[in-house]
Symmetry: C2
Subunit: 260 residues, 2 copies
Amino acid sequence: MKVVRKSTERGKPRRGGVTVVGIGPGSIDHMTTRAIRELRSADSIVGFGFYIQQIRSVIRPSARVYSSGMGHEIDRASLALELASAGRKVAVVSGGDPGVYGMAGPIIETASKLNMNVDVIVVPGVTAATASAANLGAPLMTDFAVISLSDLLVPRNRILERVKTALKGDFVLVLYNPQSQARKEPLRLVHQMLMKYRKSTTPVGIVTAYARKGERTIVTTLERMLDHEIGMESTILVGNSSTRIFNEKILTPRGYYSPR
Amino acid sequence: MKVVRKSTERGKPRRGGVTVVGIGPGSIDHMTTRAIRELRSADSIVGFGFYIQQIRSVIRPSARVYSSGMGHEIDRASLALELASAGRKVAVVSGGDPGVYGMAGPIIETASKLNMNVDVIVVPGVTAATASAANLGAPLMTDFAVISLSDLLVPRNRILERVKTALKGDFVLVLYNPQSQARKEPLRLVHQMLMKYRKSTTPVGIVTAYARKGERTIVTTLERMLDHEIGMESTILVGNSSTRIFNEKILTPRGYYSPR
């Protein structure tokens, strides 16, 4: 069942929809042309306040903005779907890429729960893994695993199991949401596990607030990882057995100079 | 040692450098503002011909273009570094994100080998994992592993080991470079392993030529995966134990509706 409503403005039928827009890792500079166009053409903008601030300058002055606090993903998803059902052209703002721990999931999950058949389009963006890697050099040139350390929705044991498995597979690790003021235990436990399975000299990169005010890029080692400031806006990359540091850059060679 | 040369054009000292630019997964639409600006301001463009074609419309008419065939990553890297040492402002074009099996590695690895201290900046782009996920729905909402099936530089056994490990950790899998005309064996072997460790009904997405001519998005199951056309421009996403299909979209729920 597709919902079609009369537009109150022009008196012709109008089909609403939700576009989940990846706004990239930091400044507007790292948004795609497509993402900017989608935000410009939306009549309703739904998102976490922090991200709404980031894209204020590109949205229509006439757009209705529905800003909310951290968390509340399901509320935002429900609101966006309702607005779209009522014929509105809704852009849901999502940091980085909306498919990586972002708003694409809650929207599609909520549509499924409520059995709503609303058009949902996802516009990809630059995700923190590759943005952080860009600042660090080339740490992701071999296979890598992306793991969120947030234990809000996922049991801590499952996170630790995933980290252990990825370490056994010699994956480069990318740790999203490593810690917050209120949640420091998972990173501490993960660090213990990293120290057990990888050399203490393994290169580690910490990128905080990429392309935002206060951006910090740290190249360090596993041993010293926890000596650095790590917060909500940080992403941590942990090298594998072949990762090394050259000219203050982290490099995981792909083998161009020593094939197979 | 930083190389500074006199510019022949204006007679003032000019510092060269290499910017490795991620041009995203397909059309210019999915390039970031920053990537477009970097290409516009470069006086020399180095890249694989296929990608150069993709960005022809945004580069300066006066820019020198150094286009080459597939492979030749080290030749391109050496050329870019030499041009930069001679004071040129070089943009190296890399598909998707340059740090994910792209040109960031060869550039930094070559600079290291040749012990050249040239300024290298990496501009991130949208990588195939998240672009493909966007077309498929929200398959990457839990932890995922990115694995290239190209056995050109990496031994086949190591690839298979990584796949097995990621399966044991219940990661969603993203397979880059799944197969080519000349290289079909790795995917066949990986498929056997997938069938061993995951249910035959596991949702699988295949996205080919994202945002390019001939774009195809297929939602299928593990059992039927190899019935579909898979080529050089394809990326394959394999769900984990909780991934399901809703409204022809692939969804790996993050647990908003059933926390922990």
